[in-house]
Symmetry: C2
Subunit: 391 residues, 2 copies
């Protein structure tokens, strides 16, 4: 089996999942560090979420109108996230990021959206990372700046300040195929100040970070609150849901934007989100996830040193990425990921990983036993030479 764009050894088809483990169709077990690319934040098939799903499914899911779950969930988000005065729900992360831009345009009467170069905000023509089928008009109202570089933002908007509807940014620079990069607090604050100065909205794309770093909002500890934010992936522990949260004075614009989907009122994913939110909003969840991330980081770095590899471990520990020094073509990263998958650990060579609450200290220890074997296997391969400390 081969999977397009993943190294040798990755399974094409997954059969089942439970807690921190997934099994492919050939019965091979993997300890999962990708968490289904983010949605699984409590572990696969987390009992309280599955129970909420079963209870809602008995009544039904997709009705002629919304169920009471939508109000309950909107209220739960508004209670959780300090800047949020309302919530609306959709299915894809892309639905939510696109809606934020559309609401910002409706509110400001302006057209330009300012985006960090290389950032991923979804897979619609305006934001998809590859050009096939995309027209120039799809990007006509976008301008670009460099993440963590406020001067580049000022340069990008010079002379068009009064045409900028919004600046959209991820809370972390989690671009693929590069080391991950935390936002600098002064950069986040400067984004907020610039938006306020020019009358533009600050949109935070929490699709990948939401419920993993700080459930109240990933920049809450910086004291930086956006006007609008987009959420998806982890908010319902694997059930299809996304959300837009916003400030009270944007309610009118949000109400004027026509948007809907056939399944946007479905109650089951909202029941799942309510059950997920109850867990992620506890201090124990947050500290345990951080501790798991720290344990994994410490272990993987110690193993790299023990096996003589020069590695970089970047990003928040809950969403890390392991890369190898002087490995621009990811030959070494790919080889290590192959060795990891062959030893039963599902990671990614150039996209951030996602920890979840099923990564207990015991599971992390089991992962580390397997990654130690992966490093050992890698050390015996020709490609490893260029990554070795003594190489």
């Amino acid at each position: 089996m081969a999977v397009q764009s993943l190294p040798d050894g990755y399974p094409q088809f997954i059969e089942r999942a439970d807690g921190a483990r997934i099994w492919d169709v050939d019965g091979r077990e993997y300890l999962d560090l990708m968490s289904s690319w983010g949605p699984i934040v409590l572990g696969h098939r987390y009992p309280a979420v599955e129970e909420a799903v079963r209870a809602q499914a008995v009544a039904g899911d997709c009705f002629d109108g919304t169920s009471p779950r939508m109000v309950e969930l909107a209220e739960a988000f508004v209670d959780l996230v300090p800047y949020a005065d309302w919530a609306m729900f959709a299915k894809n992360g892309t639905d939510a990021t696109t809606l934020c831009c559309t609401i910002a345009r409706a509110h400001t009467g302006r057209e330009i959206i300012v985006v960090a170069r290389g950032a991923y905000h979804g897979a619609a023509p305006w934001c998809t990372p590859y050009p096939a089928g995309v027209t120039a008009a799809d990007r006509q109202n976008l301008v670009y700046f460099e993440y963590n570089d406020i001067d580049s933002l000022h340069a990008a908007i010079a002379g068009i300040e009064d045409r900028v509807a919004a600046v959209i940014a991820c809370p972390v620079r989690h671009d693929v195929r590069r080391e991950q990069e935390l936002a600098e607090p002064q950069f986040a604050r400067a984004l907020r100040e610039t938006c306020d100065r020019i009358g533009a909205l600050l949109v935070l794309d929490e699709v990948r970070t939401g419920f993993r770093l700080d459930a109240r909002g990933s920049w809450e500890s910086f004291g930086v609150r956006p006007d609008l934010s987009a959420w998806s992936k982890a908010i319902a522990n694997g059930y299809a849901l996304s959300a837009v949260l916003g400030r009270a004075d944007l309610r009118d614009a949000a109400g004027r934007v026509y948007t809907t989907g056939s399944f946007w009122f479905s109650a089951v994913s909202m029941a799942a989100s309510l059950a997920t939110l109850r867990v992620v909003s506890t201090p124990a969840f947050e500290s345990n996830l951080r501790a798991a991330g720290q344990q994994l980081r410490t272990g993987l770095l110690a193993q790299a040193e023990a096996h003589g590899f020069r590695v970089r471990y970047t990003g928040p520990v809950q969403m890390p990425l392991l890369t190898f020094a002087d490995d621009d073509d990811f030959a070494l990263g790919n080889a290590w990921a192959s060795a990891a998958i062959n030893n039963g650990v599902y990671v990614h060579p150039y996209h951030n990983w996602f920890l979840n609450a099923a990564h207990t200290p015991e599971v992390i220890e089991e992962i580390l036993q397997r990654t130690d074997a992966a490093y050992a296997a890698l050390a015996g391969q020709p490609v490893a030479e260029r990554g070795l400390l003594t190489g």
Copy 2:
């Protein structure tokens, strides 16, 4: 309770659903003729679909990669739909219509999409029916023609034939706030011929019609097959899923378009779709649904006449719309819908209805008993006068 844009009496919150019935949070029961705006094609909580869902949920839903269900479902669609050589899956109908346009652009290297004026193809900025937050650039590469008017298509593309990537059309003119209109076979054939002549693709938007009119493709009986088609709503009997089907020679372009979503590989909705497809592909399903539609049409028209109202009953009988003559502002339509909802029938005054397989002859009879009471109630209202045959 009041619902924005629906007449008085409509429930805001739905609590549960079963077969042809829904119940609001106050315990009021309705016979449902909207089928959750299309997704419910076998009836709410259809046993074989719910059983497939439960079986898949035990293994899991949202994995790190796809499950075997995706291959099984793609093969089932390709077996069912004569022109389809491959399938890809997403969540929203809008995902599927947008993807069709993007694939057409990638394949042809052209930018223009030709759209019927007033047609609904989804709620993204390029197609949403209301302008809030939409920029001119979002529509820059669209040109418009009039449905069922091939001359208007030729006029729309005059001089730009070699820039047209695709013509997108619904199999039925099911625009809101107007009488529904079947496609004329010669119009459908002329669309096909025109696309072939200018080297553009024909995209059929089956989101609303799919699995309701002819599961093989709504224009199959005309002998007209599109190059690409978009499906959603009914294909998984209420579970969130959409699909793009295409011809073999478009596989390369479809593979080059970067598109994905966090929940696009989820297995539960695909298991639901497999179970749904098994039913809708049977001759009995199709003839029963048509018979139910005919029974409803005959009954509602007879009642209108008996109560002295001049009405129009348009669209396919499986997706009909009842409107009143000389009722451009829908005052009478709204009043009748209010009377219907107050008598326990959930219809819509200006959006097509959707029949489903739970509409047995007995259920249709029960609906008609209730609509008879609705006509009677309407006849006693001042607004009714202008719709009366003798008025």
